[in-house]
């Protein structure tokens, strides 16, 4: 089966319900295994074959043998694709960087281990922007990923391989990481669901660090129910990550069909100029659906969110410049010899090993932290971050959820923004504020604009994942994106 055929299986109509494994959501696969109509071995065989035929460059590594699965385990052998940013024992984990090419970690990231323990074997490692720095997947050292909706366009980033794989039916579901939008934006551009949980609910242990105060792992899935099912098995406090909190509630599978009594806030700062007309039309249709389902829609201001990108591009590169100091050619990964002394070994290794965007961010972060500039950049950005978090707290006194488009545009053309770093950074203008505030946010498909998916972002207060998932589920049922995609053909 070609990737084009499996993509059609995900988004095409299926009047008699799912038959082949690729037509099922992950939750449907679990149910089918429970009912005895599919076996883990059949599921694995289909996805292994699909992975071998990946022609999107979504995968950087594929499992060669069926690891076997316990059909009674909670996730019943439903395989998962894992972003290359996660360390996986004995399996290449390069963060899509030349500097870690061939690196075989001696341990497995906690969140991956939790999914393995719940019975979800690892199918593949997914392509991404190098060290999760990018919004198009074009910063991968191993080549860009094609968007299955239009192969001349980007899948978004940085979790572009995970999003493209799920949208194209190459995996039932995947995990990614989100620092400023790296789960939500590619999910939006690929027409799937992506959830960034509350900061701290999922362990960061074994996730190659980009910006430690922002990085958070989350699921990329075909629907909201699958996102809840995956998240349930991802959250948890971890002694190996002292910033991990676990989740105060059991993550429930969402059931809501209505939005009666719920108040939705639309921030004018994140829904005004810059949102392209096709995206705006889908967003406005979504607001109308919220009201049809019994919700109310009001304007709510996030006055400092216009400064979020500026603060983010101080804080994230500053943290990255410190985190990426460990890649020096001494303990793991690539080494260049330099001129025979230690300093030139470091400098040459990093010059050869890092790509242009990673170097740019290391430079930006090093500059912002350097003597004489620290207060003007890092100190101010941390204060802006406080104001942005306070804006959200005040907004959630008035509304239950905030709704915006996920991305101001649909998937853009490969190469369109690579020459203009600032234009690329602004791709994340609608997702970065929630990251700075540490709150949960989900992107769900809202409809099509010019035949390409438009994502709708729903955000709630810290630890309100169950509310966000319920709201997203009710909207998902009303939107019926699959029917719109199938009708579009």
């Amino acid at each position: 089966m070609s990737t084009a055929d499996s993509f059609a299986a995900v988004f095409g109509s299926r009047p008699n319900g799912p038959t082949r494994p690729v037509e099922h959501t992950a939750a449907e696969l679990v149910a089918a295994v429970r009912a005895g109509t599919l076996s883990p071995a059949e599921i694995w065989a289909e996805y292994a074959a699909l992975a071998a035929d990946d022609d999107l460059n979504a995968y950087l590594w594929r499992a060669e043998t069926d690891p076997g699965a316990d059909p009674a385990a909670p996730l019943a052998g439903v395989p998962v694709a894992v972003k290359d940013l996660f360390c996986t024992e004995g399996v290449p984990s390069a963060a899509a960087s030349r500097i870690l090419e061939g690196y075989l970690p001696p341990y497995t990231a906690t969140v991956v281990q939790r999914l393995l323990d719940a019975g979800a074997p690892m199918l593949a490692k997914t392509n991404m922007d190098e060290f999760a720095m990018g919004s198009s997947n074009e910063n991968s050292a191993f080549g860009p990923v094609a968007n299955p909706w239009d192969r001349t366009r980007v899948p978004g980033g940085s979790s572009g391989g995970s999003a493209a794989a799920v949208a194209a039916g190459l995996a039932p579901w995947a995990i990614g990481t989100d620092t400023g939008g790296s789960i939500r934006q590619p999910a939006a551009l690929c027409g799937i669901v992506g959830l960034k949980p509350t900061y701290g609910t999922v362990s960061r242990y074994g996730m190659i660090a980009f910006a430690s105060s922002l990085d958070q792992a989350g699921p990329l899935t075909r629907d909201v129910t699958d996102a809840a099912l995956a998240l349930r098995h991802m959250v948890g406090r971890d002694v190996c990550d002292s910033t991990s909190t676990g989740h105060p509630e059991e993550i429930a599978l969402p059931t809501a069909e209505r939005l009666d009594g719920l108040r939705f806030g639309v921030p004018p700062e994140l829904t005004g100029d810059g949102v392209e007309p096709g995206v705006r039309a889908v967003f406005e249709a979504t607001l109308a659906r919220i009201e049809e389902l019994g919700g109310t829609v009001t304007e709510v201001s996030l006055p400092h969110s216009g400064h979020a990108i500026s603060a983010y591009y101080v804080l994230a590169p500053a943290e990255a410049s410190a985190n990426l100091a460990r890649f020096d050619g001494v303990r793991y990964g690539r080494r260049a010899d330099g001129d025979g002394d230690l300093l030139s070994l470091y400098e040459q290794t990093r010059e050869e090993g890092f790509g242009p965007e990673v170097k740019r961010r290391i430079m930006l972060g090093t500059y912002a932290l350097s003597s004489g500039y620290y207060d003007a950049y890092y100190g101010r950005a941390q204060r802006v971050r406080t104001k942005i978090a306070e804006d959200f707290k005040a907004a959630f006194e008035q509304v239950d959820a905030i709704v915006t488009p996920t991305s101001p545009t649909v998937a853009f053309a490969l190469g369109e923004r690579t020459a203009d770093p600032l234009a690329m950074y602004l791709s994340d203008v609608l997702t970065v504020p929630m990251s700075l505030a540490g709150i949960p946010a989900i992107s769900i498909p809202g409809g099509l604009a010019g035949g390409l998916p438009v994502g709708i972002q729903l955000a709630g207060p810290a630890f309100a994942e169950n509310r966000v998932l319920d709201v997203a589920h009710a909207l998902e049922q009303a939107i019926d994106f699959r029917a719109e995609a199938a009708a579009h053909g």
Binding site: L104, T243, H304, D341, L345, M363, T366, Y367, A376, R380
Partner: protein, 94 residues
């Protein structure tokens, strides 16, 4: 704005050996990005506390009990160069 000499200084701090072409490109790109970032200078933030942690956590403690760590051969297994007991590098003074 950032000039060529500052770019070279920061590259040294970051242990990056940039090519001349990279220095040239970086000077323009970083200046454009910094111009955008400097908008946060317009805000009055005098009485605002900087964020140290976005989700408030009390001191996180654990029992101080010995646990196994990575065996040395495993820790060294991915090293570009090792003598079997440590990571081997050229002399800093060479």
């Amino acid at each position: 704005m950032i000039d060529r000499d500052q770019v070279l200084h920061v590259a040294r701090l970051a242990r990056l050996r940039l090519t001349d072409a990279e220095v040239e490109a970086m000077t323009g790109e970083l200046s454009t990005i910094l111009d955008h970032i400097e908008k946060i200078g317009e805000l009055d933030l005098d009485d605002v506390a900087p964020t140290s942690h976005v989700v408030a956590l009390e001191n996180v403690l654990r029992a101080d009990e010995p646990r196994p760590s990575l065996p040395r051969d495993v820790a060294l297994s991915q090293a570009p160069d090792s003598d079997g007991v440590g990571f081997r590098v050229p002399s800093p003074g060479a």
